[in-house]
């Protein structure tokens, strides 16, 4: 494979034009050489660029035909990767799969997670990369068991948790306590904060947040709920301190963990803005009145 003029191709637009002209088989051969032999020729990779993300950017601007060909060819190459091949080669393939949305690679990546990677540190990193790409495709009925299987492994827990709640928000009701426990046991509270920031403050809207908390309160055993809330309090996901309502902050859950509990102690949901707090509180009080279990959790007589 050469360029029409036999000149190396350095400009991104000319590189894209060259890639567009390749047959499926030639594109596969070129990618194989790029990934296994680290030769992009006749394309010249800029010295300041990261080759794989750069080429993904170039190919990502291609025609539907090129996109379709890439999404067929990259998974085929992923299938070719074997345990004796360089690990960098697999990492690069996975990055391409993720950035170029090669969703047909899903079963291959799932098989790599299950069968082709062991527990060496570099293999753990590769399995993380696998999960990150699978998560980008979105959890499916085929991969959900895999995400559940690795949920309790701290190395993959955050990927599995996020993929599962994006697939089915109801799963967060049962998986959140597990994820909190796993992170706490591993001393990864800073990371837990990030995981939950993404769930509560990025993924969910206010209505969904309140609904999720209600479901968690309803279905989590009181002692486990209290322990979980203490952990979340320690990473500022749950705030227990009195909040100046003029502050423009969000408080998901206000539970007076710092003080001795008293009979009938109230639990508050606040999800600022101030004007809307009253409505949320009214709804919550309705809920609390109907929840004998929650009353026990906060020390009220049953």
């Amino acid at each position: 494979m050469t360029s029409p003029s036999n000149d190396p191709i350095w400009s991104p637009s000319a590189q894209l034009a060259w890639l567009e002209g390749l047959s499926s088989e030639n594109l596969k051969d070129w990618l194989r050489r790029l990934l296994w032999a680290r030769s992009a020729y006749p394309l010249v990779i800029p010295s300041q660029a990261m080759a794989i993300t750069y080429l993904a950017d170039v190919m990502g601007k291609g025609s539907p035909k090129l996109t379709s060909t890439v999404r067929e060819v990259v998974p085929n190459l992923l299938q070719e990767w074997g345990r004796n091949d360089p690990t960098q080669c697999l990492d690069n393939l996975l990055v391409l799969c993720g950035l170029l949305r090669c969703a047909s690679a899903e079963p291959i990546i799932a098989a790599i997670i299950r069968e082709r990677l062991a527990s060496r540190p570099d293999e753990i990193e590769l399995r993380k990369r696998c999960f990150s790409v699978l998560g980008g495709f979105g959890c499916s009925e085929h991969t959900a068991p895999l995400f559940y299987r690795y949920l309790e492994d701290i190395d993959y827990s955050a990927y599995c948790f996020r993929a599962l709640y994006k697939y089915d928000l109801n799963s967060a009701v049962t998986t959140l306590p597990t994820v909190v426990t796993v992170h706490k046991a591993s001393g990864r509270l800073e990371a837990l904060k990030g995981v939950l920031d993404f769930l509560f403050f990025d993924y969910l809207n206010r209505r969904q947040r309140v609904a999720l908390w209600r479901d968690i309160i309803k279905s989590t055993k009181p002692e486990k709920l209290e322990e979980m809330l203490r952990t979340l309090q320690s990473v500022d996901i749950v705030l227990s301190a009195p909040v100046d309502e003029s502050q423009d902050i969000e408080v998901i859950y206000n539970y007076s963990l710092g003080e001795p509990r008293t009979a009938g102690e109230k639990v508050e949901f606040k999800d600022f803005r101030v004007a809307e707090v009253a409505a949320i509180n009214r709804a919550l009080e309705d809920f609390l009145r109907s929840s004998n279990r929650m009353a026990q959790a906060v020390g009220a007589p049953s």
Partner: protein, 271 residues
């Protein structure tokens, strides 16, 4: 190709090859590269002549296989210690230098924009990881004060385009998100910092070797194709929470058209 001379002949049939060769000759002429590096380069090229189909491809093979012989070999180095910064595209940072596994952030086409949105809030320096480098074990940077000067002399919505153009980052197209990474001074202690040579740049047309008295290299301005700001390369550094990452902005302008004939003429006629 059977001899080194055959290789040069084939190399210089292409414009990319002629620019590389002119830059390499300049580096030798100005003693940026010493005779030992040149000897090693010739030996390495000759040893691969049978295996390689292209003269330009062979350059990449030689310099990527033998980093100890050809990376960071410039005899010139900056004369004074100062603060340096790297400019990086956010997707590169997300894919290679952040522990996104800890927050479970998925790798897909939107990973760059997701990280961009959360940078400095949910995604903090706590998540920095691995090595600050490119595909080779060094990265390109410039004096922080120069970057600040570019950033402060243009309109906010033009910052990223101006930085891209003045640093000669011809691989960064419109809509890409640029970050500024300030290197902590402690990280530089005892590390190799050099002006880049043609061997560090490889067969890249947007590169100029220099004989700057202060030991700096110079980037090419994409709009004028003349020397722009100082640039240096630093060996790979451990990327930890002591680095400061800030947003420059989103590139708002398409890449300027680059006139290859001017680039070649500049390379051939550099005195």
């Amino acid at each position: 190709m059977e001899t080194f001379e055959d290789w040069i002949r084939e190399l210089t049939t292409s414009q990319v090859g002629r620019i590389f060769w002119a830059n390499y000759q300049y580096d030798l002429r100005k003693n940026n590269l010493d005779s030992e590096v040149n000897n090693n380069f010739q030996i390495s090229v000759e040893s691969r002549l049978e295996d390689s189909s292209s003269a330009v491809e062979l350059i990449d093979a030689v310099i990527s296989d033998e980093p100890n012989n050809f990376d960071l070999k410039c005899s010139r180095r900056p004369g004074k210690a100062e603060a340096y910064s790297r400019v990086m595209e956010v997707t590169d940072l997300a894919v290679y230098n952040l522990r996104l596994d800890e927050v479970g952030l998925e790798l897909d086409a939107e990973v760059g924009s997701r990280v961009w949105d959360k940078l400095g809030t949910t995604i903090t320096s706590y998540y920095h990881k691995d090595t600050m480098k490119t595909g080779r074990n060094f990265f390109w940077c410039l004096p922080s004060k120069r970057l600040s000067a570019i950033e402060t002399t243009v309109e906010p919505n033009q910052k990223a385009s101006a930085v891209r153009n003045q640093l000669g980052l011809y691989h960064i197209d419109k809509d890409r998100r640029l970050l500024r990474i300030d290197i902590p001074s402690d990280a530089l202690a005892g590390r190799v910092i050099r002006a880049p040579t043609s061997l560090d740049a490889g067969p890249n047309v947007v590169f100029v070797p220099c004989d700057d008295d202060n030991g700096n290299g110079w980037a090419i301005n994409l709009e004028t194709l003349s020397n722009s700001v100082e640039e240096l390369i630093i060996e790979g550094l451990s990327f930890d929470s002591s680095y400061t990452v800030t947003k420059i902005g989103i590139v708002s302008e398409p890449l300027p058209d680059l006139n290859m004939d001017i680039l070649e003429s500049n390379a051939l006629n550099r005195s």
